[in-house]
């Protein structure tokens, strides 16, 4: 190695550097322009003929496992349709909707995106999602094997805007190892709220671990409670409860706290603030957490203890088969037909169903579901399926419709106000009044 060879002829550098400086100037001027132009050149007007090369962008949230399974299923689709490839993007739940909104604002919404009932009304009423109804009538999208409730739960203003990718329902997860250790009875489906709170207090007393997370800020628990009392969370674009209902709800949990059934306010806040994998039943800070049935395997992955799964307290017929989440197609996608076909494949294809399992909930297609039930090996998935089927037999005839626009704000307001009550900064009555006002404002009800 001879490091100084180049500097041995310094006189040659001077003439060479003159034009390069000019070129540098040109580059400095042109480069930002070129970059800008390249950013604008992203739209392709490719048709949807079956031989054209098509790249579809697809975006979802979830954990590693979901990414692995979804990628496998999409690879299978590419195998069967070599002209279709995917640009896959996924991330954790937190921040997902911020990103989706930003992409949409830039006109770069993914062709296919995962969405749930927190946001689907917002996106559908703003015309972001493609109306899939015509595709169901000409057979390009088959929802005929779906349970009726799942099909309906994907409709906003009478249009099918999301294809359910899974079915779940409210699930109360308890720490079985803890309960067995202290020889306590397990909670059961159908036990009354009072009995459940008494049970939780007995767990706290015996084990020094608070028996249950306080669900006063958890909207799906309130929702079940309201339905058991002949009310509902929403009716169309209106709230379907009043201050008295919420006062009773907050008071019930205030009493439970006094009885020692629930944790201290800061731990309750921590539970409300945490993702699935950090729920209190997993971190050992409470004996019970309030989740959705399909989240069982994810919870189990994060604890060594055995977990049990039952319905929320009270009459289980108030629960319903909920579309845990959907895939929707972007209305501005240049490849709508191809995107719809992929969604159809993910929902109905037996092989794809086998790959996807119950990660997003029970498969929406009942034939696929039956096939999965007979072949599933994962014990936590098995437990989820068993409980969900057991509950499914008890569901009442009415299913709530998809929550209206503003629902996610209602959820955060409930957490905030319920915590005001748990921290003792508001009485249940004042909290109830505040929540009714906030909920009405959030969904634009005058």
């Amino acid at each position: 190695m001879e490091p100084f060879t180049r500097s041995a002829t310094p006189d040659q550098r001077t003439p060479a550097s003159r034009p390069s400086r000019r070129r540098l100037l040109a580059a400095a001027l042109v480069l930002p322009l070129a970059l800008g132009a390249a950013a604008c050149g992203g739209d392709d007007s490719g048709g949807s003929g079956s031989d054209d090369k098509v790249e579809l962008s697809i975006f979802w949230w979830g954990a590693d496992k979901r990414a692995e399974l979804t990628e496998q299923a999409l690879d299978l689709y590419t195998q069967k349709h070599p002209n279709v490839t995917f640009k896959k993007t996924w991330q954790a739940n937190q921040g997902y909707y911020d990103k989706l909104a930003t992409l949409t604002a830039g006109g770069n919404a993914p062709d296919i995106f995962q969405i749930d009932d927190n946001a689907i009304s917002e996106y559908a009423t703003r015309g972001v999602t493609l109306d899939l109804t015509p595709y169901t009538s000409d057979g390009k999208l088959d929802v005929s094997k779906f349970p009726k409730s799942l099909k309906e739960y994907g409709q906003v203003d009478g249009k099918l805007v999301g294809v359910a990718m899974g079915e779940n329902t409210q699930g109360l997860v308890y720490d079985k190892t803890l309960v067995d250790k202290f020889k306590l009875p397990a909670p059961t489906t159908g036990m009354s709220w009072d009995d459940f709170i008494k049970w939780a207090a007995s767990v706290s007393k015996a084990s020094k671990v608070p028996g249950t997370q306080d669900p006063s800020g958890i909207y799906q628990a309130l929702w079940v409670y309201l339905r058991q009392n002949g009310k509902d969370l929403y009716k169309g674009n209106q709230i379907a409860f009043d201050e008295a209902d919420i006062t009773k709800w907050f008071q019930m949990w205030k009493d439970a706290r006094a009885a020692g059934a629930t944790p201290t306010p800061d731990v309750i806040h921590e539970g409300n603030d945490s993702s699935v994998s950090k729920q209190l039943v997993v971190t050992g800070k409470a004996g019970t957490s309030w989740v959705w049935t399909n989240q069982m395997p994810e919870l189990k992955k994060n604890t060594k203890n055995d977990l049990g799964l039952v319905a929320y307290p009270g009459d289980p017929s108030a629960q319903w088969a909920r579309a845990s989440l959907y895939f929707s197609v972007f209305r501005g996608s240049p490849h709508k037909d191809a995107a719809v076909d992929v969604v159809n494949f993910l929902a109905n294809d037996p092989e794809a169903g086998k790959i996807l399992g119950t990660d997003r909930g029970l498969p929406p297609n009942l034939d696929v579901r039956k096939q999965i039930e007979s072949t599933v090996t994962d014990p936590n998935m098995k437990q989820t399926i068993e409980v969900q089927n057991e509950l499914g037999a008890k569901f009442g005839p009415t299913t709530p419709s998809v929550p209206p626009k503003g629902h996610s704000k209602v959820k955060t307001e409930l957490i905030r106000i319920a915590e005001e009550v748990t921290y003792g900064r508001q009485t249940p009555e004042a909290g109830a009044a505040a929540f009714v006002t906030a909920a009405k404002a959030a969904i634009g009800q005058s």
């Binding site: 100037l25 400095a28 001027l29 480069l31 930002p32 322009l33 800008g36 937190q94 921040g95 909707y97 911020d98 909104a101 930003t102 949409t104 604002a105 006109g107 917002e122 996106y123 703003r126 015309g127 972001v128 201290t264 306010p265 800061d266 731990v267 806040h269 921590e270 603030d273 503003g406 996610s408 704000k409 955060t412 957490i415 905030r416 915590e419 005001e420 921290y423 900064r425 404002a441």
Partner: protein
């Protein structure tokens, strides 16, 4: 030195050039240089226009509309002053966020400046290894607004966090600092105060400018440490203090990252850390009311601008520019 006085090489006489031609050439060269200047500026200029100025103007327009990021800008409906009206009359969280932000700025900014000045004075001594100490004290600011730092803070000030374990050595049972509505904001302030490195370095530079003779003269006259500080250090440092005050005040009002991370984006518990910018972000990106968020951003800009103007005006009474008097 004029041209006539310059030594001219005798062997190569410069050919005479007509004056007009010379002027034309100079002007051309100046134009070329101007152009080159603009070309070199262009990446920044395009950035300023494309990333700052034009979007700002668009946001001003959007603040009078019901724009949501889910619809094209062209479809946004003009709503006049509705967003501003809602902000001031119909959004209780808005005033709550204003209170939180003002409290944060009023407490954190003076304490941060005091800490920065105090440490800068300690580090202004001639001592072996002083550079290492300066580096160490500056370190938290290098980590600055980073998300990682806020995450560390979050776990340190948890109920089971390192801080409470430290307290338990002394038999003190700590709070769940970040999860307690009373303590969450002070914890956030502490994080801001701890990052005093940037103003500290500026103070340090200012302290080095204070002439040592003044202190010597004061000592001869029998002034104690406090008199020297209040009659020499503070007045001579006042331009630097003013600079830091303006900068840190603006910074304090803008606090976002640490509040966002510490509260998981919610501003909780029970909105105790709902900084203005966090409320703005949630309005725009979570509730998708971008028109409303734009209106909040403009009010914010105007208010912070007004505060800066007020600071500049009060500066006349207490900022002491020594060179101005000498002139």
């Amino acid at each position: 030195m004029t041209m006539a006085q310059m030594p001219v090489r005798p062997t190569e006489p410069v050919p005479p050039v007509p004056a007009a031609q010379r002027r034309g050439r100079a002007a051309r060269r100046r134009r070329r240089e101007d152009l080159a200047g603009y070309v070199f500026l262009s990446p920044w200029l395009l950035g300023l226009l494309g990333i700052t100025a034009i979007p700002m103007l668009i946001s001003l327009y959007l603040s009078f509309t019901d724009y949501s990021p889910l619809i094209p800008v062209t479809e946004a409906q003009w709503v006049g002053l509705d967003n501003y009206r809602r902000m001031f009359t119909a959004d209780p969280s808005y005033w709550h966020a204003v209170r939180v932000t003002v409290t944060f700025a009023l407490v954190a900014v003076p304490l941060k400046l005091a800490a920065a000045l105090g440490v800068a004075m300690l580090l202004n001594r001639a001592m072996r290894g002083i550079a290492v100490f300066r580096g160490l004290f500056y370190l938290p600011s290098l980590l600055g607004g980073s998300v990682a730092l806020a995450i560390v803070w979050r776990s340190m000030f948890n109920r089971e966090g390192a801080f409470n374990q430290f307290l338990s050595i002394f038999g003190v049972e700590g709070q769940a600092w970040v999860n307690d509505p009373t303590w969450a904001l002070p914890t956030l302030m502490l994080l801001a105060i701890w990052q005093f490195g940037a103003p500290m370095v500026i103070f340090l530079a200012g302290l080095k400018q204070v002439p040592a003779e003044l202190y010597e003269a004061a000592s001869v006259d029998g002034a104690g440490a406090w008199r020297k500080f209040s009659h020499i250090t503070l007045p001579l440092l006042s331009p630097v203090i003013f600079f830091n005050l303006v900068l840190e005040t603006i910074h304090g009002f803008q606090g976002f990252t640490s509040a966002f991370v510490l509260s998981n984006g919610s501003g909780g518990p029970v909105d105790s850390t709902l900084m203005y910018t966090l409320h703005l972000y949630n309005a725009g990106f979570v509730e998708l009311n971008m028109g409303y968020a734009s209106a909040m951003a403009w009010v914010f800009l105007l208010v912070v601008g007004a505060i800066t103007v007020v600071l500049f005006n009060t500066g006349r009474f207490w900022v002491h520019y020594s060179d101005a008097e000498e002139r």
